[in-house]
Point group: C2
């Protein structure tokens, strides 16, 4: 629950309203600048500019103060670069760090870039160790070292421990906000201890039970404290076999466990059974969102997260890797055509028809690939069922090949009144769709076995094969049967 500005009927829509208000403020601000630009010489205008200017900026600062950091993050992401930086410069230091936590990676980089080092260190030193761990990759080593100095010894240790785990492991994402109790305590003792605190860590749905050596014993759901007799012992109420994670567990699988068992928080236990941290649903939800967005962008051939309003140069570079790969594969596919220039010179219709074979092969293969990428993401594809999947996809490919092959064959026949041409077209379609089915399964599985993200580039590789081989099969069959 969050304390947001009082509204008669607050709703999720209001964040767009805030964006609109800020856009209006920025517009007024720009209008003044344009007016002044027109008449630079007059000192009176300069005075007015600086006054009106300042008034708008104060208004902007007040507006920002009233917003939740996550709302500010959303607004910054939706603003074109110039406006974004104007708003960002008005951000109070004590809010800036929280906002950096909430924005997407690409936008975060654009915000950090314009801060000088002291300002950045000041902002970051407002955050706790868990939050700093989330930001650590975005800042340079020396800034991180400087911020570490501002932490106490315990927080510094914690930060260094979590940063030692790779990004896709649970240890990197766990938090140190843990409330522990002992088995031997009674409910009333725990209640009394809790009352001494001002608040509980966010997402606390249970307390963790440990022994004197901090070995994990179980979890005590908060409702158990509320629903039971205050005289009962924690040992009677705790759950001794909850879902728990190790710090080196894969974050993907942890996220799936949170979804599967509807968890709010879960303990992280090291190999010796010691409680080392806590994983919470908000962190998991962010992770799921990040990963699924990454899949969509990767499948389309973007290298990484891209800011919607990134500078043109940055955007272009983010896309070059896969465009470059695509260019190479397109060259190779085009050489497959080059082999048959003689056939094309004799039957020009081949050039007209060949993109149909290649295009539908690519589309059909991509359908298979999307299904396999999702199956891998959900952990549903195992060595035992892979062959079933291959045979099923080959079956679908054969069926689709026959249906669409006959269709395009008929089309070619009607267009050119050439029956053998139609037959070659149909046969090429069947073969290319079978190939597309096979490759649609094989490419993401191979990438997965090589430890790569199966979404990454599988579409470009697949299209390369369905294009190149599509041209080759069609023109090859045509050379054999039509010339």
């Amino acid at each position: 629950m969050i304390d947001s500005a009082a509204h008669p009927r607050p709703s999720p829509y209001r964040v767009e309203d805030h964006l609109r208000q800020i856009l209006k403020l920025l517009e007024k601000h720009r209008l003044v600048e344009t007016l002044v630009d027109r008449d630079r010489a007059s000192p009176r205008h300069e005075l007015i500019e600086s006054l009106v200017h300042r008034q708008h900026l104060v208004e902007l600062q007040l507006k920002l103060r009233s917003l939740h950091p996550a709302d500010i993050a959303y607004i910054l992401e939706a603003l074109p670069l110039e406006d974004r930086l104007l708003v960002w410069r008005q951000m109070p230091d004590d809010q800036g760090g929280e906002v950096l936590l909430e924005v997407s990676d690409a936008v975060r980089d654009s915000l950090i870039e314009v801060l000088d080092r002291p300002a950045l260190v000041k902002m970051l030193s407002q955050l706790d160790a868990d939050d700093l761990a989330d930001l650590a990759e975005a800042i340079t080593e020396d800034v991180l070292a400087e911020v570490l100095q501002t932490l106490n010894a315990r927080d510094r240790d914690w930060l260094q421990t979590t940063l030692a785990y790779p990004e896709d492991q649970v240890g990197h994402r766990m938090s140190q906000d843990i409330l522990t109790v002992r088995e031997s305590q009674r409910v009333e003792q725990v209640l009394w201890l809790l009352r001494g605190r001002e608040e509980l860590p966010p997402n606390t749905d249970c307390l963790f039970v440990v022994d004197a050596r901090h070995l994990f014993k179980g979890v005590l759901p908060l409702p158990a404290l509320l629903l039971n007799d205050p005289q009962k012992h924690i040992a009677e109420l705790m759950i001794t076999n909850p879902v728990l994670f190790g710090p080196t567990d894969n974050a993907d699988e942890a996220a799936r466990a949170f979804e599967r068992y509807d968890l709010i928080s879960a303990p992280v236990i090291n190999d010796r059974g010691k409680l080392v941290g806590r994983l919470t649903v908000d962190e998991v939800m962010d992770y799921i969102r990040e990963e699924s967005e990454e899949d969509v962008l990767n499948m389309a051939g973007l290298r990484g997260d891209e800011d919607l309003f990134a500078p043109i140069w940055d955007s272009a570079r983010n896309r070059w890797l896969w465009l470059g790969v695509n260019l190479c594969t397109a060259f190779i596919a085009s050489r497959a055509i080059g082999l048959f220039e003689n056939a094309i010179a004799q039957i020009v219709a081949l050039a007209t028809l060949m993109p149909i074979i290649a295009g539908i092969g690519g589309n059909s293969g991509n359908q298979t690939t999307a299904l396999v990428v999702r199956g891998l993401a959900l952990g549903e594809i195992t060595p035992e069922n892979t062959w079933h999947l291959v045979f099923k996809e080959l079956g679908v490919g054969l069926l689709n090949g026959l249906v669409w092959g006959v269709t395009v064959g008929l089309f070619a026949y009607l267009l050119y009144w050439n029956l053998p041409l139609g037959e070659v077209m149909a046969a090429a379609m069947v073969l290319n769709l079978l190939l597309a089915a096979l490759m649609g399964v094989a490419i993401p599985l191979t990438l997965h076995h090589l430890g790569r993200d199966p979404a990454m580039g599988s579409s470009v590789l697949l299209t390369f094969i369905t294009d190149g081989m599509g041209f080759f099969i069609f023109l090859g069959l045509a050379t054999v049967f039509l010339l």
Copy 2:
């Protein structure tokens, strides 16, 4: 927290272990069947078969009993159809309903299909009204009517109310499990009332405060009950301006609000200020996962959710819509080539080079589309910033067009020692990438404005334009400048 089978070190990996154990059981089961098949005649074999058979099935049932419904759902999804139905038939009635709740839509259909009506009704009558609401779309009207008879009047009303809201509205996804308190009550009274209950509804992080007419007043976080003096009044402790939703609010925006403000549960209030339901994080997390998967599948041209092991015929049909659309667009694009058969007959190299222009245009446009689809999903694209986005993407397109245009132009020149051909190639690349950038923004935005899912088919439409126009531009320029 879930009570799972006691393990020395339970971890998220164990669900795959369960799958492996079940696969082993199924393999033994099949082995027996094969042995018996070989020697059908002997009555002794039949006896053995039925004994061993039964033993395996009992083992399977015991195994299933020990598993969480979400784990069974995962296992069913990962099993090929035949094995899946074998396992499903061993499912105890009291677990079956929960499993249906957890499996994906496509797999759910395959499970419901094989149940006769009395078995289905029996399974469903084990579920509460909230769960039935989630399943309602998967079952026929008359089964639903029959299950409604087994509910009490209050649950029946509730089910009919929630089902009246469309699937993408909050009202469809809210639950009726609400704990309410009054402003005038003291903490100790509330604690006393809670102790009378056996458990709290899942995902209860706060109680809702209402007045005598059930008008919503605020929320009371559970920790407030634990941390404060038992003599305090609820009115002093409640939060009066929490994030709340209306039943007709868009589920997408509600999901984003949950992520943004890290909510566990939130009240749903109708227009007159009455508390009507509760939205919880587990429902929201499922929604986010479903939607993002749907985006990935839709962008690849699958009509809906598809079971990894669906029968070939069902799978093929699920893909026909977009393959059919693709076929039509490919025909039209191929006619663009047909217009220039004369040019190709004179310069066969044109046929070899044209797929490069079309392919890179498609790839580049898809990068833009993916970015816009994501921006729309996050609500970051507004009428105010659309032009910024268009200009930025045109800028990227121009830059990429120049870089890759010169590259392919040089390649064409070196391959055919024909400078004008290289120049035409470069010019066509620049024009097609500009077009791809424009369409990459325009297509998803138009689909969005028409109230359609921008991911749905935008890739097929885009490829149509970059292919068709790519061929047209390249061959047109060649006709003008090279013939």
